[in-house]
């Protein structure tokens, strides 16, 4: 029996091998306006979510950090300052448009010396085992086709004692918030997307893909299955976003 493998692209069911290309189109389309859209959509709160992620990472001077699906480089910028000249930050993204925007922006702002750029797929990372003290993936896991493979790959390249932090949309914990959030994301988001990037479809995908993403407890279980220990999560903004953290034993 051979059944074709399928996965979700927002609410649509697509062949597993198609998803990567469809997600790529979304990000090629929105890369130039990505930062502006994040500020508009989250009322600037994404900056606080990211700052909290850095705090929870326990990053120290001299550390090796992998900022996965790091896109336009928000986290990389902050990590670069903390790890200093003896440390290193690798900004990796599967999407060349996002990576180019990130590299140009960081270089223009003078962030050079301890940052490297790699185009890579989270499901099969091109790094040696036990390479990183910290791995972050902010708003990226949702778009990965095989999330279990990605988590295993991240666990492999973490050093023993290294921390994985996954910042991702999650399930609102408060029913009122959940309702408001539904209305907001299925009407306001595609509308803003249309206005700013002239691409409503990509932001319709965003709203749908958030609903399809595993909830807090499910993702925690997936991280444990990938071999990480002391897995826990923090709900941010009533669970609109959750920060998951796990440690490589």
């Amino acid at each position: 029996m051979s059944e074709e493998k399928t996965t979700h692209f927002g609410y649509k069911t697509v062949a597993a091998e198609q998803k990567q290309a469809m997600v790529a189109d979304v990000f090629h389309s929105v890369a130039a306006k990505y930062d502006l859209m994040n500020d508009l959509m989250s009322f600037g709160v994404h900056r606080l979510w990211k700052r909290f992620t850095i705090d929870m990472s326990g990053v120290r001077p001299g550390d090796s950090v992998l900022d996965l699906a790091g896109g336009t480089g928000d986290l990389t910028k902050k990590f670069s300052k903390v790890v200093g000249p003896k440390g290193r930050v690798v900004l990796a993204d599967i999407n060349s448009s996002m990576l180019n925007v990130g590299r140009d922006r960081l270089t223009d702002q003078g962030y050079v010396g301890n940052i490297e750029y790699v185009q890579a797929n989270a499901e099969c990372l091109p790094f040696e085992d036990n390479s990183f003290d910290v791995i972050t993936m902010a708003f990226g896991l949702r778009n990965v086709t095989d999330k279990d493979a990605a988590l295993r790959s991240m666990a492999r390249v973490l050093k023993p004692g290294g921390r994985l932090l996954v910042l991702e949309f999650s399930k609102p914990t408060n029913p009122l918030m959940s309702k408001a959030y539904d209305i907001y994301s299925f009407t306001a988001l595609p509308f803003m997307g249309k206005l700013v990037t002239n691409d409503a479809d990509s932001y319709q995908y965003l709203a749908e893909s958030i609903r399809m993403h595993p909830d807090q407890e499910t993702l925690k279980g997936m991280m444990e299955d990938a071999g990480l220990v002391r897995c826990s999560y923090h709900n941010l903004t009533s669970g609109v976003v959750a920060l998951h953290r796990g440690v490589k034993p």
Partner: protein, 64 residues
């Protein structure tokens, strides 16, 4: 390409060591027969973007 970065990278499929072809700006995995391009100094470590090496090239590069 940056030496430090080069020393960290392995083949995304077999996690084997890569050979750096400076002239062609490629990273070669002779085991999988894949040549990963380096574009504007950024290694593109995706199987779908890699050039497939011929059998002769694989043997040739493996010995080099």
């Amino acid at each position: 390409m940056d030496k430090q970065l080069l020393s960290m990278l392995v083949c995304p499929l077999c996690q084997g060591k890569l050979k750096y072809d400076q002239e062609q700006q490629e990273l070669l995995c002779t085991f999988d027969g894949l040549a990963f391009p380096i574009r504007d100094g950024v290694p593109v470590m995706l199987e779908g973007e890699a050039r497939r090496m011929s059998e002769e090239e694989k043997l040739d590069k493996a010995q080099a």
